[in-house]
């Protein structure tokens, strides 16, 4: 088996997608002071920080839009079927979620189970006025009734394919790939 990579978005493409999402979030016409981002670890946090920076620049506001970091491990529905237990990362949400309009940010939307877990995790922190969902890629195959409010790119996939996002903050390069396994010829 060998790996076949198809480039879906390059650095400029990712930037365009995030900029469009930032504008769409602002087009709702709501008070920006109640807006806050919560990113799902790890890449969702990086994307949430970028969205916060973009909106802070576009609106030229003095205080950046707050960003929280969420670890959803304790809320997963498959803890007992995994062959090991992962270290729990910190959940860092320094603002009171209650009353905020929260935009939850993740890199790839797939089955929807991560988002279900994230919604429960946020509910344990307080009662936001509203929670919206922004993802860089929606690859389909939902197993729960969850849909995103903001999507960078809709990418139909097969279940045996993988969508792999690399970001400067972690991997050193901005790149979105579709990876599939091919039988060696």
């Amino acid at each position: 088996m060998s790996e076949k990579r198809t480039l879906l978005l390059d650095e400029a493409g990712i930037k365009r997608a995030l900029t469009r999402i930032a504008h769409e979030i602002l087009e709702q016409g709501e008070d920006i002071r109640s807006l806050a981002f919560i990113g799902i670890r790890t890449r969702g946090v990086h994307l949430a920080r970028r969205l916060s920076r973009l909106i802070t620049e576009i609106k030229a506001i003095p205080d950046p839009v707050p960003v929280g970091e969420l670890d959803i491990t304790l809320y997963r529905d498959d803890l007992d079927t995994r062959s090991d237990r992962r270290v729990l990362q910190a959940t860092k949400v320094d603002f009171d979620v209650s009353g905020h309009r929260i935009v939850l940010v993740d890199d790839v939307l797939y089955t929807g189970r991560t988002i279900r877990a994230a919604l429960d995790a946020i509910t344990d922190l307080g009662r936001p006025r509203k929670i919206e969902l922004a993802v860089l890629v929606d690859r389909g195959h939902r197993e729960l009734p969850i849909r995103p409010d903001y999507v960078g790119r809709n990418q139909p996939t097969r279940k045996d394919e993988k969508v792999r996002l690399s970001l400067k903050e972690g991997e050193g390069v901005d790149q979105l790939d579709l990876v599939s396994q091919e039988a060696a010829s």
């Binding site: 809320y75 803890l79 079927t81 062959s83 090991d84 992962r86 270290v87």
Partner: protein, 317 residues
């Protein structure tokens, strides 16, 4: 990186440095949850944890029970007088009966060294050692390590002084293992009768022995006082409380000999005026209450990390 793969926690001796650090990192995150308004999270929902304490203990049992509840497990507490062990049932049979009631976690305190390890091999439930005889008390060492790391952010180059009855202390033993694995230097001080012979000869877990507390204190970054367990020590090994306090009790004057930043720890319950003076317990160097808070966070981390996958239960994870 692989995650935590063990079904049970029976000793610090059996853990790798990486495994200890995984528990400490997870405990740091658990502590944040304890400080929230809503202190409960769902990973152990629908699971049952039994506190099986064949030896009396209020603090450790409460701490474990609270930890299990914070993770949404149901808990039952069994104490010696309430259990059929007094009617002659073996520990194995007691736990097999509990397992028939679909119990997932057994937190065991037992007067016999090795009880937890033996039980872990016999049952499918995850076994956590909450103290076995003179052997180990792993979660106490883990909470101590967490507390030390919180203050110093490292273990390399730290001198940790353990004072008291080293010979009969499972807390000391677990800490000597854990501190060595993480790179700290361990010193012990106590009456010669309460220090096991040949302690320094163990090259895997080296320890420096001091017979005078005053000689060890100036080097210490951490001073860990052990409780004098009068119920464990034979009369012949321990002359008198007054004499012990005079030579090995930590009071304000002695504490001045230690480094300025030194912290004072104690696993509790404290005998004020015996191994430690009242003003030291309540003083600014004391981290005794933070230890108690970290105890709940550590036990949450352990209960969460223990692997309940079918592979782990079968024993081939």
């Amino acid at each position: 990186m692989k995650g935590f793969q063990r079904k049970d926690l029976v000793s610090i001796d059996s853990l790798s440095k990486d495994e200890i650090l995984m528990i400490l990192d997870t405990a740091d995150s658990m502590k944040q949850i304890l400080r929230r308004d809503r202190k409960k999270v769902p990973p152990l929902q629908g699971k049952t944890a039994v506190m099986l304490f064949i030896e009396a203990s209020t603090r450790t049992r409460t701490s474990f029970e609270l930890a299990a509840k914070r993770l949404s497990a149901d808990t039952i507490s069994l104490t010696p007088d309430a259990s059929s062990l007094t009617k002659g049932e073996t520990l194995f049979d007691t736990v097999k009966n509990l397992e028939a009631m679909q119990v997932d976690y057994v937190v065991l305190r037992h007067p016999q060294s090795g009880a937890a390890e033996r039980l872990a091999k016999q049952v499918d439930a995850s076994v956590v050692n909450a103290g076995d005889g003179w052997h180990e008390h792993p979660t106490q060492a883990l909470l101590d390590l967490m507390t030390i790391r919180e203050r110093f952010q490292k273990f390399d180059g730290l001198n940790v002084l353990i004072v008291g009855d080293i010979a009969h202390s499972r807390v000391a033993r677990s800490n000597i293992y854990g501190l060595n694995k993480l790179g700290a230097k361990v010193m012990v001080a106590g009456p010669g009768t309460l220090i096991p012979p040949g302690l320094t000869g163990d090259s895997e877990y080296p320890v420096e022995v001091y017979n005078r507390l005053e000689d060890a204190l100036p080097k210490a970054d951490v001073i860990m006082m052990l409780r004098i367990q009068l119920e464990r020590i034979g009369q012949s090994l321990f002359p008198s409380e007054g004499e012990y306090a005079r030579f090995f009790g930590l009071n304000a004057a002695r504490l001045k000999l230690a480094k300025n930043h030194a912290i004072v720890m104690h696993p509790g319950p404290v005998n004020r005026g015996l191994e430690i003076a009242s003003d030291v317990v309540d003083g600014s160097s004391s981290v005794i209450l933070p230890q108690v808070e970290n105890g709940v966070a550590t036990r949450m981390a352990v209960l969460y990390l223990l692997n309940r996958s079918p592979e782990a239960i079968r024993g081939d994870a």
